[in-house]
């Protein structure tokens, strides 16, 4: 049960307005900060807010509010909260809600609605936001009476955080906020007859899985987002060390298992490491934990992991057999299932399989960045690798979407969970800066870095004002290549090199920072990177670094969309493309 906030006056049994009850409920759910934007239909709630111990962050756009709540939730594991008015306020939240939905982020969105008597009349700023958000929320509610507010918000938090988490929207009419009723708060267990968030793994399937694991010669483990969500890092690591099964991660799984662990192979999929994808294609057993075989992970399903039996450990039954057929499906919480399996799996050294993977690593491998000659040009990979080194791998990094996101996944090695926040499922540009602000509120002690492109940054750069107004410090590394880089890369590879609508003129980002009263730094050579990172780390307020990187670099290796996982486009060998000194040297670091 939620302990009542000591700062909260006990008003149980008193007559309160619906607006007051909203905040009573939020405080009782443990909310300390919320992100939002006021407007007509939510004004009563805003008016009541000042009576309650909740810090409100005024965003510059409602999309920023939903991304901030999302970033807060990802960084803390708690439910993030955003609030907006009816109509455009509510619709502006939708991109952030969909982002949270696709990555299973627990979030509660409160929206104001026109008075209930006006619903359906196309009133000023009326939108059917519950109708709009049915496909992109886990669940949503329309509340028209003050006495429904407390139980609905309580239920919304429960639904948002239980089972496979997700965003829940509560739309509250203006009259429900204005009317009063006797405030009641029921701490009993929530009864939702049709809602079944948790499944216990059945013993037969655990036995089948154990048998497969103990007899496999070339097994591979997949670490998905579910490892982080169910706090399974510890038991997963034990499982890996006992069985000596190498680990491949999804993008959202990065950090769930230490990147520098000897059995961590790295990321799989479209921009995964070549040897990881090769190992998957050669494996005789896949044990997928808390992931959903996204198309970015599998490539062509017809040729995907043809030799492997699949054990699919996943909390959501609807994900089983969706893309990849599971020989042994285990519906359950990752931590619970691994804990059950651990005592029954056998210790095994697997020298041949591990040696084989080492061998294919040697063949196809790695970007040996540290030893690259400094040709005076700045590559994004340099920047991100240096960021990793100078922050000692300890920063909480929030990325946007595109080339820099993939380079981050490849070059910034995350050893801890919840230190990489990225929009994986929806791929939402503009996510990074607001999500980082939310994350900083959740983890004020962390060094929070935004890594974003010049395109994505401009989508939500107005939120820099929030950094200034709130005195919040995040560091922003703009990987500025003058293009919408990932789209440009696809144009280069797949559209005959026609750069349609991808060259991008940007403002002077240093001046943009300064215009907000923040610090801006421009970096054009590799020699300047370290200084810039150190200045950013030691400066009190938010710092924006404009890294002017090579314009037409590409993310390698790459599985073209829908191609076979083992057919990867490799970085051209040295000499083949003189201007590009990053090549695969065959040495890992």
């Amino acid at each position: 049960m939620t302990p009542a906030n000591p700062k909260l006056k006990n008003r149980l049994g008193e007559s309160l307005s619906g607006a007051q009850i909203i905040w009573e409920a939020l405080v009782r759910e443990g909310v300390e900060v919320c992100f939002g934007y006021p407007g007509g239909a939510i004004m009563p709630a805003y008016d009541a807010m000042i009576q309650y111990p909740i810090h409100h962050v005024l965003t510059r756009h409602e999309q920023g509010a939903s991304h901030m709540a999302d970033g807060y939730a990802r960084a803390s594991g708690q439910v993030g909260v955003c609030i907006a008015t009816s109509g455009p306020g509510a619709t502006n939240l939708i991109t952030g809600i969909a982002t949270a939905m696709l990555d299973s982020i627990p979030m509660v969105c409160i929206t104001g609605q026109v008075p209930s008597a006006l619903i359906g009349s196309d009133a000023f700023q009326e939108t059917d936001i519950t109708g709009c958000t049915i496909p992109v929320t886990k669940h949503n509610y329309l509340v028209t009476k003050p006495e429904q507010i407390a139980p609905t918000i309580r239920e919304a938090f429960y639904v948002a955080r239980s089972g496979r988490p997700g965003p829940v929207l509560v739309d509250i009419t203006k009259d429900a906020q204005q009317q009063s009723c006797v405030f009641d708060w029921n701490d009993d267990e929530i009864e939702l007859p049709g809602y079944r968030p948790d499944y216990a793994p059945p013993p037969e399937q655990l036995e089948e899985a154990t048998a497969l694991i103990n007899s496999a010669k070339r097994p591979i483990l997949f670490a998905g987002h579910g490892i982080i969500k169910s706090q399974a890092t510890e038991v997963f690591t034990e499982f890996v060390e006992k069985t000596n099964i190498p680990v491949a991660s999804t993008l959202l799984g990065l950090g769930g298992f230490p990147a520098t662990h000897r059995l961590n192979l790295g990321m799989m999929g479209m921009h995964g490491e070549t040897w990881v994808n090769k190992a998957i294609q050669d494996a005789d057993l896949i044990i997928a934990v808390g992931m959903r075989f996204d198309d970015r992970v599998t490539g062509n399903l017809k040729t995907y992991a043809p030799n492997a039996k699949k054990i699919h450990i996943e909390l959501d039954p609807a994900e089983i057999n969706k893309n990849v057929y599971a020989d042994v499906p285990i519906v359950g919480d990752a931590q619970a299932v691994l804990t059950e399996l651990l005592p029954h799996v056998e210790e095994c050294a697997r020298p041949e399989w591990l040696a084989y993977i080492d061998e294919i690593k040697g063949d196809s491998a790695v970007r040996d960045i540290k030893n690259l000659p400094d040709l005076g040009k700045l590559y994004a990979a340099h920047v991100i690798h240096d960021l990793y080194r100078f922050t000692e791998g300890k920063a909480l990094v929030v990325t946007d979407v595109g080339q820099h996101q993939m380079w981050e996944a490849q070059y910034y090695k995350h050893d801890y969970p919840r230190k990489l926040l990225t929009s994986g499922g929806l791929g939402t540009m503009g996510f990074a800066l607001p999500a980082a602000i939310g994350a900083k509120f959740a983890q004020p002690g962390d060094s929070v870095w935004v890594i974003c492109g010049d395109g994505g940054f401009q989508m939500t750069q107005a939120e820099l004002s929030v950094c200034a107004q709130e005195g919040i410090k995040v560091n922003v590394a703009i990987i500025n290549n003058g293009f919408l880089g990932m789209v440009r890369q696809w144009q280069q590879f797949f559209f005959g090199g026609r750069y349609v609508a991808t060259p991008l003129l940007s403002p002077d980002f240093v001046k943009i920072a300064e215009a907000h009263g923040l610090t801006g730094i421009r970096v054009e050579t590799r020699a300047e990177v370290e200084d810039a990172v150190r200045v950013a780390e030691s400066t009190e307020g938010t710092v924006v670094i404009d890294f002017r990187v090579e314009q037409e670099d590409a993310v390698y290796p790459m599985v073209p969309a829908g191609a076979n996982l083992h057919d990867m486009i490799q970085r051209p060998k040295p000499g083949a493309q003189e201007h590009n000194p990053i090549f695969e040297t065959g040495e890992d670091e």
Binding site: H139, V159, P193, G194, R196, D316, P317, A318, I320, K322
Partner: protein
């Protein structure tokens, strides 16, 4: 991959505003094409029952079931495709029919156990209840007379015999993994 067949789901949902919209939205969003959907009250207060017919192979049917279960307002899903069921459609058919044709049309009705429920000098309205193929049969026989209007419900279905659902205490099948 098993073959795609017509599937019938009995879906018990909370009787709340917008639930039909949620269920329909799920089918649309996941590209599950609905053949027919029927919804109405049950004997249990607060519980509505939907009968949803759609094309799906075994895997898709499981995923439809699992996705329905994910919805907060869905209480119970039963894929009754391969169970012994009673399936019924109701149709009202208005056809051209003059005095000379009347006897013939009424005889056809008799064969199909349909009833004439309205009549005017040159037309007749027929009500039929039955399995979908029976209704389709009657419609094709009446076509030559000239069908003026046709309205029909979606399929409603119920399992035969003893099986029944305890709607007051819905529980998930013991192992949801089977249905996964």
């Amino acid at each position: 991959m098993s073959q795609s067949v017509k599937r019938t789901f009995a879906v018990f949902v909370e009787d709340k505003p917008g639930v039909l919209n949620r269920v329909a939205s799920l089918f649309r969003r996941r590209s599950y094409n609905i053949d027919s959907l029927n919804v109405g009250a049950t004997h249990e207060p607060g519980v509505s029952r939907m009968t949803i017919v759609c094309d799906a192979d075994t895997d898709k049917a499981r995923r439809i079931e699992a996705n329905l279960y994910k919805m907060v307002n869905v209480l119970w899903v039963d894929d009754i495709t391969h169970k012994q069921t009673i399936d019924r459609v109701l149709a009202l058919i208005k056809v051209n029919c003059n005095r000379e044709q009347r006897d013939e049309v009424l005889k056809i009705c008799e064969v199909y156990r349909a009833r004439a429920i309205d009549m005017s000098p040159d037309r007749i309205t027929i009500e039929i209840t039955g399995a979908r193929d029976k209704v389709e049969g009657l419609v094709s026989v009446l076509k030559p007379f000239g069908i003026l209007e046709l309205v029909q419900t979606g399929t409603v279905a119920m399992t035969r015999g003893m099986e029944k659902h305890d709607l007051a205490h819905p529980t998930v099948p013991a192992s949801r993994n089977d249905a996964a």
